[in-house]
């Protein structure tokens, strides 16, 4: 990643919530860089903090969450922007103009009492854009997500199907020509075919509009089809990051390996599916040492007492494990991940 330009730099990011039983830290000292025009996938189980990490790119962690650390945005031309220090009005301009976000509630992302057209128009208006030119762009965008612009613009959200709403929202997210699009589980409520078509669509849009995509999901097979790099989150922090190939063939954190091993495969009966033993840690009472040690076969006293920093595995890959070079032997991956050509063929064959 040394020779590519960085668009987002996150350092020491912490997101905390005050709760009755103490402070809940849902993102812990996270560091991550996003390169311009790449697709970065962030994967993790439910409650691992991935949505919170994504929200902090727009300083949009919901109240009463507190975000601390540094989130720096590097525009193509101009000075770096420290996102967490923006005033309210600056933040309003930054959002959607520099970074847009499509999040998992796409089904209800539109105001139910106004037409889709109004959503485009008010977005352009509140960002002081030229409305006729902006609406032309909106029509182009709707066409490029395979929707009939006039019909969609004249519709209310309840008149559209889930997939149409999701695509209309993606078009809406691009109307101000942002540099970065953050997608928080954009395919969660869609069927498999629609998921695939959204992924294809995102690839096309990325090429057409020079986008940087940050794609958050818990669906590993989907991510492998889209992402250039993948960051794996476990217990509120990033435990491994690398190119998609690095993680698929040389995963060096025991959690990543276990995650790959548990990827569902249609050829395996449900009761024979692998699971990761144990349960995920609590965001309030955090354990000392490596957060994964209670579930890790490699764990020793070192892991229980000291938290591992990110170790460089290779040029493009880092892993937060003291024993990253032993992980492959300790956690073997029994079934090939379903992205591999053989499994894909087998799955498809089963369908026929």
């Amino acid at each position: 990643m040394s020779n590519t330009e960085t668009i987002f730099e996150v350092r020491d990011l912490n997101v905390t919530f005050q709760m009755n039983r103490g402070q809940s830290r849902v993102v812990r000292d996270a560091d991550i860089d996003v390169a311009r025009n790449e697709t970065l996938g962030i994967i993790g189980e439910s409650g691992s903090g991935k949505s919170m990490l994504a929200s902090s790119f727009l300083n949009a962690v919901v109240e009463p969450g507190v975000t601390t650390g540094e989130v720096t945005f590097y525009p193509e031309d101009g000075n770096p922007v420290s996102v967490l220090d923006l005033s309210d009005s600056e933040l309003n301009r930054f959002r959607w103009e520099a970074v847009a976000m499509v999040f998992q509630g796409a089904m209800s992302s539109f105001n139910p009492v106004t037409k889709i057209r109004t959503h485009f128009r008010e977005t352009l208006q509140d960002h002081n854009r030229d409305i006729p030119a902006g609406m032309d762009r909106a029509r182009d965008l709707l066409e490029s997500v395979y929707l009939d612009p006039e019909r969609i613009l004249d519709s209310y959200a309840h008149e559209l199907s889930g997939g149409m709403k999701q695509r209309a929202l993606i078009a809406l997210s691009l109307v101000l020509e942002p540099d970065v699009l953050v997608l928080d589980e954009p395919t969660a409520a869609l069927d498999l075919l629609m998921q695939r078509s959204i992924v294809t669509l995102l690839r096309e849009l990325q090429a057409e509009y020079d986008l940087t995509l940050v794609f958050i999901t818990h669906d590993l097979p989907l991510l492998t089809k889209l992402a250039d790099r993948i960051a794996v989150m476990y217990a509120f922090n990033i435990v491994e990051i690398g190119t998609t190939d690095d993680l698929l063939y040389n995963a060096s954190h025991p959690y990543t390996r276990a995650l790959l091993d548990t990827t569902p495969d249609l050829n395996v009966p449900v009761d024979e599916m692998d699971i990761i033993e144990g349960s995920k840690p609590d965001p309030v009472d955090q354990i000392p040492g490596c957060s994964y040690h209670p579930r890790c076969p490699l764990a020793d006293d070192h892991c229980r007492s000291e938290e591992p920093a990110m170790m460089t595995v290779r040029n493009t890959q880092e892993s937060a494990c003291f024993y990253y070079n032993q992980a492959a032997d300790a956690v073997p991956i029994s079934a090939a991940p379903s992205h591999s050509p053989t499994t894909d063929t087998a799955t498809d064959g089963g369908d026929r």
């Binding site: 959002r95 509630g105 089904m107 209800s108 105001n111 009492v113 037409k115 509140d126 209310y156 309840h158």
Partner: protein, 339 residues
């Protein structure tokens, strides 16, 4: 499709109105000492007082004139006579005591009642919406909890209690407002400032007592707003960097007020009937007071007439609510389909 719905809905309204009038007619007739009987007694009493005799045929004639009914005809004939005069001639009969047509009496009184009730509703609902919205934005603050308690308290207080307290504090202890009536004595009626002032001065307390207790809708507004504040589309609107004023009005305001629209229209229907007690307390000669007095002396034509008017207002208000809801909430526009 929408034209079809319109016809269907208007048809339903007419049917409802017709059925209510029929039911009322039957109930009044079946009451011991129904309208005709009551009138006959009134005439006989007057006659005994004057010492003259009057032949029964003359009494029947008088009864027919006042009530639009031939009292000894079978009930279905009476029903036919009454309905045809109500619907075809817009004739509601004559008051038993004043020699005035019921329609005239009502036409005189209704504007006064409308004045206080419409103002009370508008003030009450505006106050509720603003208060409810502020409570929702400051959810869980001290302001929110104190206002909730106060509003629940007000909402559970019958408005006549507030009326009596207002009269006590603002009319008797401090003579800010008159205790009753609708205009001051000796004020020249007409389109002049003194007359308008006098009207406002007299209407202030009834309006205030009705609107303060109408603040109960603030809790509905608060609940609606809190729900909308948690909606995904609100978060997306914030992420889209929309102006706060737009989010407050177009997103939160509009979606929170919507469900209250029907409530408001049904409230209009209740306005005239609730005026019965308020007007009694403030001795405000509106239609409510007319009804109250009519009940006391069994002035059946007036009772029937005002009931028909109340029904009409109710049915029309709900009809308007139904027909216009599609315009303000697009999700309802397909209304007639799933009936």
């Amino acid at each position: 499709m929408s034209g079809n719905y319109f016809v269907k809905r208007v048809g339903q309204a007419v049917l409802t109105f017709f059925a209510t009038v029929t039911l009322t007619f039957v109930l009044y007739q079946m009451m011991p000492g129904g309208p005709a009987e009551a009138l006959r007694n009134v005439i006989l009493q007057q006659q005994m007082g004057s010492g003259n005799t009057i032949d029964p045929a003359r009494i029947e004639q008088l009864v027919a004139q006042y009530t639009n009914l031939e009292s000894d005809a079978p009930i279905y004939v009476q029903y036919y006579q009454y309905m045809s005069s109500v619907f075809l001639e817009q004739d509601l009969g004559e008051s038993l005591y004043e020699n005035t047509a019921v329609t005239t009496l009502l036409a005189d009184r209704i504007p006064w009642s409308m004045l206080i009730s419409v103002y009370a509703m508008v003030i009450g609902y505006t106050g509720s919406i603003v208060l409810g919205a502020v409570m929702a934005f400051k959810e869980k603050s001290r302001f929110d909890s104190v206002s909730s308690v106060v509003v629940i308290g007000l909402n559970s207080t019958p408005y006549y209690v507030a009326g009596i307290l207002f009269i006590f504090f603002f009319s008797i202890r401090n003579e800010f407002f008159p205790t009753g009536g609708r205009v001051g004595l000796g004020v020249e009626a007409g389109f002049n400032v003194a007359f308008m002032q006098s009207i406002a001065h007299h209407a202030a307390l009834p309006i205030l007592s009705m609107s303060v207790l109408g603040l109960g809708a603030a809790l509905t507004m608060r609940g609606n707003s809190v729900r909308v504040l948690g909606e995904d589309y609100l978060r997306v609107a914030e992420l889209r960097g929309l102006r706060n004023s737009r989010i407050a009005t177009q997103y939160v305001g509009r979606n929170a007020v919507l469900p209250m629209y029907t409530q408001f229209m049904i409230g209009i229907a209740g306005v005239l009937s609730s005026s019965v007690i308020v007007e009694q307390i403030f001795s405000y000669p509106g239609v409510g007071m007319l009804v109250y007095e009519a009940i006391q002396v069994r002035n059946y034509p007036v009772l029937m007439g005002s009931l028909i008017v109340f029904t009409l207002v109710t049915v029309v208000a709900i009809l308007i609510a139904d027909l216009t809801y599609g315009f303000i909430d697009p999700r309802i526009s397909a209304g007639g389909d799933n009936e």
